[in-house]
Symmetry: C2
Subunit: 205 residues, 2 copies
DNA sequence: GCGTGTGAAACAATTCACAGCG
DNA sequence: CGCTGTGAATTGTTTCACACGC
């Protein structure tokens, strides 16, 4: 139940445990040990047991963890057991790919509306969603009780667009633009920048 | 110069420093202090000084760091001062977006070829690159001295496709499929999975 | 004075190792 | 016996605080 003292590194590992548990459950596996979960995810058994123990006692001594029960618990901890309403800002090639990415829906993340400032794009549809002008952003966020905005705009517009989304009530941002956003600390910002990943990789090559 | 004892957390922060320095240099800024870099990136001044000190002494006491010099040094450390040759596997909506993503080229990451196993897609072009059948993958990786493969395939094919790329000589993988890859430890694997980011976010909401 | 670079100190995360229970 | 949950020990990371040089 969202203890404040849970380290953020632990929170970032939970989705990886959840992903693996879901995979195992789909294959009919009923019990898993911390050792086996570790082989799948690359973390040590002790670390996995410690991580889970922040949230409760989910395992059975001598046996392991019931896959289905642990999966349900993790979904509850990560608040994946409810619907989340998002908007996407930026209808370029990346925006198109994100709207069509089925895995979002599978995990209860629903893109409710798409925005762009290009008059050519406004009115067109992606996967059943009509691209709206930026002037509609605030109204939609308020009316549809949007929690999260995905930013897929050029870097030079990301700050401004992020501010607009926050002003309209968004509490978290998933930012695909390769730039740091300066936003109030209560807004949760997460970055995806493949160049950052590639540069960490090529350090080691 | 690639000291083995540099912690991975440090390596993962370097691209963020580099990004900010490039931004500052584009705006004509010549000198930056660790405090100012910290304000832009969200890290503490002490941490930034410590991180950089793993690689050398780049600053001037009483002044700060010369932006251009530090940017060059970081590019050298991250091996961004050379061309990197990549292949993209998977020509779906995400694959299309990645081929068209200009920021890769800006940082010397060049997608040299695109592969897919869908007969409908083979022969079509994305941004000047013809989609090739998977049967050509190994030959291309060898002939073009490809270092890195980007995986943008469905989760159920990622393991097999990753193995093919590694067998043909790729040393690193950027994996967009939402599944863990089991590959030899000398292969560097980096993951991008927006659902993982969203689940960490919604933990806090 | 200002800001780096860095020992030393403080804090955080991971691993060890074992009691306890099924 | 096998495996969890967890104190204690260890290892890793960040911050403090200051000598030094511009």
């Amino acid at each position: 139940m969202a203890q404040a003292q849970v380290p953020d590194v632990v929170v970032r590992r939970l989705p990886l445990y959840l992903r693996t548990l879901t995979y195992m459950e789909d294959r009919g596996q009923e019990v898993v040990s911390s050792t086996e979960l570790g082989e799948w995810t690359g973390f040590s058994p002790a670390q996995i047991r410690r991580d889970l123990s922040y949230f409760g006692e989910f395992g059975k001594q001598g046996l392991g963890y019931p896959v289905r029960y642990l999966r349900e618990q993790l979904e509850s901890i990560l608040h994946v057991d409810q619907q989340w309403h998002l908007v996407l800002i930026g209808a370029g090639a990346l925006g198109h790919a994100l709207v069509k990415y089925h895995t979002f829906r599978r995990w209860n993340y629903h893109i409710e509306a798409v925005f762009d400032n290009d008059p050519e794009k406004i009115g067109q549809a992606i996967d059943g969603l009509t691209i709206q002008p930026m002037s509609e952003l605030a109204r939609t966020i308020k009316e549809k009780h949007i929690d999260i905005a995905i930013l897929a705009v050029p870097a030079e517009h990301a700050q401004e667009v992020g501010e607009q989304a926050v002003a309209a009530g968004v509490r978290a941002i998933l930012n695909y633009a390769p730039i740091n956003l300066a936003l109030p600390p209560e807004v949760h910002v997460s970055h995806i920048d493949p160049v950052v990943n590639l540069q960490s990789i090529t350090y080691y090559l």
